[in-house]
């Protein structure tokens, strides 16, 4: 390796490395703590001093997915031997399982609404971005500015008229309503990001295709789409993460059938007092997919979070 004045010295690298790793460990500690709490038993989770080493237990996960009632000794005996492993864990806490909890449903709602709105957003967004990138659309610049400014509105402020509108249309607390709303909220981001990705594809490819006898549509989906695949995929993940994490609209516009997981997780309570292992288990299951996506997205992260203002 050739000598360079700008290459940091070995000592500098070590010093920087130690500080950054130190910060990373501090920042990851709360997350690891939550994941660990999900595997603690009730008493372990609220022990003082906080327990770093503990006997793993599935109590949190069992409590998360089941609905239980506290039972007296007689009732426990009358119920007979526990039939399954999760039955057994519930019995050990002096409770009897009545049936599944609503967490599964709420999680499924998050999946349906998240993927539904992402798919819709990608279809509309790619088409619009292509048009913005390749054609002379009147008022193009104003439109893009408008799209960005919609993001400045506090969600609660937007929620007032949306609430009234949805009530009028019967869309309150429906999957369709939430999918349309998240699609609209995400469209601004996705059109803007996708336009950036499509701008980077040389227009000569399409010209070649047009000369070869392709129609515009064919050139679009046979030439441009495959080229933009990475960009489309990373934009889709951003939309999905937003819809997945969204709370304000979800808490105001849904209550039962279409409620997603974020408004639901904080409401998890146990039989007598807050059931922290169950809350932690719920949070862990909910947060893990996002962490996986973050790793997949690393290269395009910056572009997504800054609406394409910073490109690497």
């Amino acid at each position: 390796m050739s000598f360079s004045v700008t290459e940091p010295t070995k000592g500098t690298k070590w010093f920087a490395g130690v500080l950054v790793v130190g910060y990373a460990l501090i920042t990851i500690a709360p997350l690891l703590w939550i994941i660990a709490t999900g595997f603690k038993s009730g008493p372990d989770s609220i022990a003082y001093p906080p327990k770093v080493f503990f006997e793993p237990s599935m109590e949190g996960y069992v409590n998360l997915f089941t609905d239980r009632t506290r039972a007296t000794q007689d009732m426990l005996e009358a119920a007979g031997e526990p039939k399954t492993w999760y039955d057994k864990i519930a019995r050990e806490q002096g409770t009897i399982i009545n049936g599944p909890s609503r967490y599964g449903e709420r999680f499924l709602n998050s999946v349906i609404i998240g993927f539904g709105s992402t798919a819709l957003c990608m279809i509309l967004g790619t088409a619009a971005a292509y048009a913005f990138s390749r054609f002379r659309v009147p008022l193009k610049d104003d439109l893009l500015f408008f799209i960005l400014s919609t993001r400045m509105m506090p969600p609660i402020a937007v929620a007032i008229p949306i609430f009234l509108m949805f009530r009028q249309l019967g869309l309150n607390d429906t999957h369709l309503g939430m999918i349309l709303l998240y699609t609209a909220v995400n469209l601004s981001l996705s059109v803007w990001l996708l336009k950036g990705f499509i701008d980077e594809i040389p227009i000569e490819y399409e010209e070649a295709a047009l000369i070869d006898g392709y129609t515009r549509f064919q050139a679009f989906y046979k030439v441009v789409l495959p080229q933009a695949a990475t960009g489309i995929a990373s934009t889709a993940i951003f939309c999905l993460i937003f819809a997945w994490n969204e709370y304000a609209f979800a808490v105001l516009l849904t209550s039962g059938t279409a409620q997603t997981a974020p408004p639901f997780i904080p409401t998890i309570i146990g039989v007598g007092g807050k059931d922290w292992p169950a809350v932690a288990a719920g949070a862990t299951i909910f947060l893990l997919p996002v962490m996986v996506f973050t790793i997949l997205l690393r290269k395009h992260l910056l572009r997504g979070i800054t609406f394409g203002a910073v490109r690497k």
């Binding site: 360079s4 709360p30 703590w33 967004g125 910056l302």
Partner: protein
């Protein structure tokens, strides 16, 4: 208007062939592609905005649909701007905004600066540091309440361990003096990586040759830092501040889950106050006016800021 390469090709192609190649005209395709997006944005963004502005001049209440809706002119605006409680929430928001930005800029820049020293494995550690900002703020707020529990909470335990105080003697979310800092800490934990990533992009955009030239001129490292690094990163840093400023001005989910605006009104940020007015007290007209004021404020401040940002970029 200049011809795009596509137009040139189109002109050079014989008429009959052009029709076959193009199928639908570009204009038609452009509209087919853009129309659904514009329609949806009009329906979900512009229409509600106009509706909010209209409602803000009335005394409409969602929970009393049968009452006559009266046109009250600017009365809602007058009442909001003269209400001391609203100025208190503005103050809480300002405290939150200023401290989160200061801390995130300082820590975020320092981290980016260190990561840019290219030690081995810096990519992996960067990804780990970035995790918090991708998570659901409501769920994060919820689990920080657990970390902030007096006695059993990890945060209290660690603070007590290093300061020697009794971990049960303070409650981050129950104390009127500590709660505003509790939300600042949680937000800083979550969003410092955002500032860090943008600064890192800024640092990486500085060409090595500038430092090499400075080295030839025998500029000290300290001087290089202040005359090269800082000015070159400044536009990026300002962009990060813009994003964080807008986001934290609208802050709702993290704080509502963490403190719920309490104790008292010490952490009632404007969005939380707005939610109470609109969806708990159901004062729809009044809260619409409130929403319009917030939007105008953030839009105005952002526009002034963007002007300043562009000036810095031009330099």
């Amino acid at each position: 208007m200049t011809d795009t390469p596509v137009d040139k090709v189109a002109k050079a192609t014989p008429e009959t062939m052009a029709r076959r190649i193009r199928g639908l005209s570009d204009r038609t395709i452009a509209w087919i592609f853009v129309a659904p997006t514009i329609f949806l944005l009009l329906a979900v963004n512009i229409f509600p905005l106009i509706w909010t502005i209209r409602l803000s001049f009335t005394n409409y209440r969602v929970n009393r649909p049968n009452r006559d809706v009266e046109w009250v002119g600017l009365r809602n605006y007058e009442r909001i701007l003269s209400d001391p409680d609203i100025w208190a929430t503005m103050q809480a928001t300002a405290h939150f905004l200023i401290w989160t930005i200061v801390l995130q800029v300082l820590i975020g820049f320092a981290l980016a600066f260190l990561i840019n020293k290219k030690f081995r494995g810096n990519d992996m550690w960067t990804t780990i540091i970035v995790f918090p900002m991708m998570l659901s703020p409501a769920v994060v707020g919820n689990f920080w309440t657990f970390l902030y529990q007096p006695q059993i909470g990890l945060f209290n335990y660690v603070v007590a361990f290093f300061s020697g105080a009794d971990p049960a003697s303070f409650s981050m979310i129950g104390d009127v003096h500590l709660a505003p800092w509790a939300i600042v800490i949680a937000d800083t934990w979550m969003w410092t990586p955002f500032v860090m990533l943008i600064c890192l992009a800024g640092l990486r955009s500085i060409p090595d040759s500038i430092y090499e030239a400075a080295e030839c001129d025998r500029a000290s490292k300290w001087r290089q830092f202040w005359t090269i690094t800082i000015p070159m990163v400044l536009p990026f840093l300002m962009l990060a501040v813009l994003f964080r400023g807008i986001e934290n001005f609208k802050m709702f989910d993290l704080v509502v889950q963490l403190t719920g605006g309490g104790p008292g009104n010490t952490t009632t940020l404007t969005s939380i106050d707005l939610k109470r007015e609109a969806f708990e007290k159901w004062r729809t007209g009044y809260s619409s006016a409130y929403a319009v004021i917030l939007f105008v404020t953030v839009f105005g401040l952002a526009s002034i800021y963007v002007k300043a940002l562009n000036k810095v970029k031009e330099r």
